[in-house]
Symmetry: C2
Subunit: 218 residues, 2 copies
């Protein structure tokens, strides 16, 4: 593994250091179909608790819709200037029907006998109910969505594609404009290509705490 | 971009399809120092809201400690059998002192004049207070930790290293055993190498909803 991974290690670290939260995109550059497919599949392939995938990703490329959304993100220019705007939305509840829909998908993909899934199904339903009763269902589901956002951001970096994850927006307004009801917008990710000449952030060194502060080895 | 990225696209999709939540690790296989360094730096380089990094990652390799933690993860064998156990912990509060510590780090890394940071500092302090007052500080901070967990998982997959993200454990017990106080354990990630022969999950097809269900193009 060591030898095979040497260049992969270097490439990953190079790209994770290269990325930054872009303030100014080059509005003339668009992501290719092949690259976008990989980005989309990174969201789809991200793991989630029990595999329940309690989220949805709204991908906005329509220029008029991007303009309409801009005021709800406090006028930040990344919304209109990026190539693809991903609105990360989590499911506000998890019903028995949601669990059954997922179980049906397992049965379909794996050709598993439906009845062999009963224990797993009951566990998932009980966990969903526990989270609903304790008022933590939105926290639980939105955390899963952030993990998927991590996959999107890392894949973008590896492809040399720029991104800006954003929490500075009005979720209620985004939900209204996009017609979201069962889901709620929780984060945005503008994706495209940096306008390095006009982005004062582009060449600043990355700020992270010391390794010793973030990593505690036992 | 299209031509340059063609093989990168294929490699990423291949590895994200290759990964799965390992149920049975090969306890004899350990992650190399070089690979571990890349995994650790993926956590460190992950972006977070304002850059505040409200989390800590406890990396457990001590076999006795892994055994001690196992009952608090309901006896799941991944804890003891993996090479490195990462305990993802988020900060339970964000104080003015935390923000000031971060601002001091920006000043240090970027050689920015301290006084030019005042507006940004005040915005961060106000956002932290708003989250504390609204009871959402733990949700906010833990979401950032999940994004970093996403980076860890994708990097592992790219390196051909196995992982199992886990929420099935008792956070209070983990906090007690690890002596966590300002931070709280929110997810585990066992990392190592799959025991493919003894893991019934190893060869099952991945279950994901249809692309049309997860991705909503506008």
């Amino acid at each position: 593994m060591k030898d095979t991974n040497r260049t992969v290690n270097e490439k990953i670290l190079e790209q994770l250091n290269w990325r930054y939260a872009v303030k100014k995109f080059d509005a003339t550059k668009k992501i290719s179909v092949a690259d976008w497919d990989t980005l989309e599949h990174s969201l789809i392939l991200a793991p989630s608790s029990y595999g329940l995938q309690p989220y949805k990703f709204i991908v906005v490329t329509d220029e008029n819709l991007k303009k309409e959304l801009t005021p709800a993100a406090y006028g930040q220019t990344q919304i209109a200037d990026c190539s693809h705007l991903v609105v990360v939305a989590y499911k506000k509840v998890l019903t028995d029907a949601d669990v059954e829909h997922f179980v049906a998908r397992i049965v379909e993909v794996r050709n598993t006998p439906r009845e062999s899934m009963k224990d797993y199904e009951n566990t998932m339903k009980a966990t969903a109910k526990k989270n609903i009763n304790e008022g933590t269902i939105e926290t639980w589901n939105s955390r899963q969505a952030y993990l998927a956002l991590g996959f999107l951001l890392e894949t973008a970096a590896l492809l040399g594609i720029d991104a800006c994850p954003m929490e500075g927006f009005n979720p209620a307004e985004f939900n209204r404009i996009l017609g979201l009801d069962e889901y709620s917008a929780v984060a945005l990710c503008a994706i495209g290509y940096r306008d390095a000449k006009n982005d004062w952030m582009a060449n600043l060194p990355k700020v992270r705490f010391l390794k010793e502060e973030l990593i505690d080895r036992r």
